[in-house]
């Protein structure tokens, strides 16, 4: 049943999120073109070429402003993606759609899992799309002399040929990469489950302004999570640095970082489990659909 739930959640989310990703790529392309144009125009004016400076200035201003705005919009799309995912959650769990959701012969766990996995999938897709849009911008939109910006490509190559090998002297790159991916994923899971939890609790405490209640709850929970994380991590940091590392070599510092990172993973898994279990308990024991 989880597969079927995910299929329908995916269908519901794709309806808005797929066009959004296309929009990001399109916007990225437009920003790249505008930026490339304006750079060339400004170069031309430096060279003192003929033509109206006012017109050039105008074109320049418009192009730069649009490019900057589109850039901001692309960065904001992560937020929009999150909002759309949460809105979908809100509608299926607290809205009229809840009459459909909660009369399905499926377990509460599967309902939550489906929302979590499809939400995470779209956040990841969005991240990849934003990276691609930024890369396109960096490569094609930041240079005057040639079509592509060689510097960006060289910086990328340098990262793989020099920086990574240098880093690998102190830490294991595959381990680090795996750690980044795993901790990133559980961190994302914890974040989404925290929002879902806030929406569920918001629906429990408020009858009317449920969205506001959910936002308030989120901020409140966030404070709690901040405090718990700070306490947890300071114990971990203290424990690790006192017991194992003298931190007197770069290699040890690297290992230390990796260990701390691992503990963050543990923290996120713990938070995820907590949010998941409490959400499920509320939905099972105290569902009161209006």
């Amino acid at each position: 049943m989880l597969g079927k739930l995910m299929k329908h959640d995916f269908r519901a989310l794709s309806r808005t999120l797929f066009p959004l990703q296309i929009g990001i790529l399109g916007g990225g392309l437009v920003a790249t073109i505008l930026s490339a144009l304006s750079i060339r125009l400004s170069e031309a004016s430096w060279a003192g070429a003929n033509g109206s400076n006012l017109l050039k200035g105008l074109i320049l201003a418009v192009s730069v402003t649009s490019a900057v705005l589109i850039g901001i919009a692309i960065m904001a799309s992560l937020f929009v993606t999150l909002v759309l995912i949460c809105y979908h959650f809100y509608r299926s769990f607290l809205g009229d759609e809840g009459y459909l959701t909660f009369t399905l012969p499926v377990s509460t766990s599967n309902l939550l899992w489906s929302k979590l996995l499809t939400g995470m999938f779209w956040v990841l897709i969005n991240s990849v799309v934003v990276c691609i849009a930024l890369l396109i911008y960096a490569v094609f939109g930041t240079t005057t002399s040639t079509l592509i910006n060689i510097d960006v490509l060289q910086a990328l190559r340098q990262f793989f040929t020099q920086i990574l090998p240098e880093m690998s002297k102190y830490i294991s790159i595959p381990v680090m990469a795996a750690e980044v991916i795993v901790v990133g994923i559980v961190g994302l899971a914890a974040q989404l489950l925290q929002v879902y939890f806030a929406i569920i609790v918001g629906g429990q405490v408020a009858k009317k302004h449920r969205v506001l209640a959910a936002i308030g709850m989120y901020l409140l929970i966030n404070m709690g999570v901040g405090i718990v994380s700070a306490i947890f991590m300071s114990f971990v940091t203290l424990g690790e640095s006192v017991s194992q590392f003298a931190l007197n070599s770069a290699q040890e510092a690297g290992t230390f970082m990796s260990t701390i990172f691992g503990w963050y993973g543990v923290l996120f898994v713990g938070l995820s489990a907590l949010f998941f279990l409490v959400s499920r308990a509320i939905l099972k024991k105290n569902l009161n659909l209006q």
């Binding site: 049943m1 079927k4 299929k7 329908h8 269908r11 519901a12 309806r15 509608r91 009229d96 759609e97 809840g98 009459y99 459909l100 909660f102 009369t103 399905l104 012969p105 499926v106 377990s107 024991k285 105290n286 569902l287 009161n288 659909l289």
Partner: protein, 237 residues
């Protein structure tokens, strides 16, 4: 999805539901047999919707318990129950085809063929989105989905409330035409005259309390009056 051989499809014991200080259901005891069409009758605000929502699993009770085919409310009972709420609950963006797909995926007892036949009789095109349908058509569409399941217990909340006489006839025809005599249908309504001919039994619900549970024919035979007349007497303001 094991079947239970007891004769009761629904057993409710000492069920109470409070909304803050308001008592919506008070110590309700109820046993409904299999294979009957039963009216849950009472004026607005008497607790009909609350009772149906608890059985459907959308509300948790304050105290007491409910068994559907011998099982407590949960995943298992939800596969046996086909529930029609008062409101339109299908997402706006879904097409008719999406809705059919949804029901096919989640309900093993959904009869797609039957649903398609009924929809074509209603002239609802498969590619229409819910938001493009009129409220009335949307309600009929929901009824078609709910009645196309071969469920053991149907819970229909005010299916004929606020519809014109032609639609009311369509709805009652759909209910009768899809009824299979193994199943029990619980219909809540305050429009007694319209449904009384299709009811085997009825329950009177007054301010959260079941005040009467009898067969429709028995009322006519022993009291010489229709259910509608009896209702008007019992619930006189």
């Amino acid at each position: 999805m094991q079947s239970n051989n007891t004769q009761a499809i629904l057993e409710v014991r000492a069920l109470t539901k409070r909304y803050g200080p308001t008592l919506a259901l008070s110590n309700v005891d109820l046993t409904l047999p299999k294979g009957k069409i039963i009216g849950l009758l009472g004026p607005n605000g008497s607790g009909k919707t609350t009772l149906l929502k608890i059985v459907a699993g959308l509300l948790t009770s304050t105290s007491g318990f409910v068994l559907v085919d011998g099982q407590p409310i949960g995943e298992g009972t939800k596969s046996l129950i086909s529930y029609l709420p008062e409101r339109t609950y299908l997402p706006d963006w879904m097409t008719v085809e999406d809705c059919l797909d949804y029901f096919v995926d989640f309900y093993a007892d959904f009869d797609l063929q039957r649903a398609r036949e009924m929809l074509s009789r209603l002239n609802v095109p498969a590619n229409k989105r819910m938001k493009q349908l009129s409220k009335g058509t949307r309600e009929k569409m929901q009824l078609v989905l709910v009645m196309s399941r071969r469920a053991k217990l149907y819970l229909l909340d005010e299916p004929i409330g606020g519809v014109d006489p032609a639609t009311r006839d369509y709805i009652l025809d759909t209910i009768i035409g899809n009824y299979d005599n193994e199943a029990t249908i619980l219909i809540s309504t305050h429009l007694i005259a319209d449904v009384e001919k299709v009811l085997d039994e009825f329950l009177f619900l007054k301010e959260g309390v079941i005040t009467m549970h009898d067969t429709t024919d028995n009322v006519r035979e022993t009291q010489g009056k229709s259910l509608d007349e009896l209702f008007r007497e019992v619930f006189r303001c």
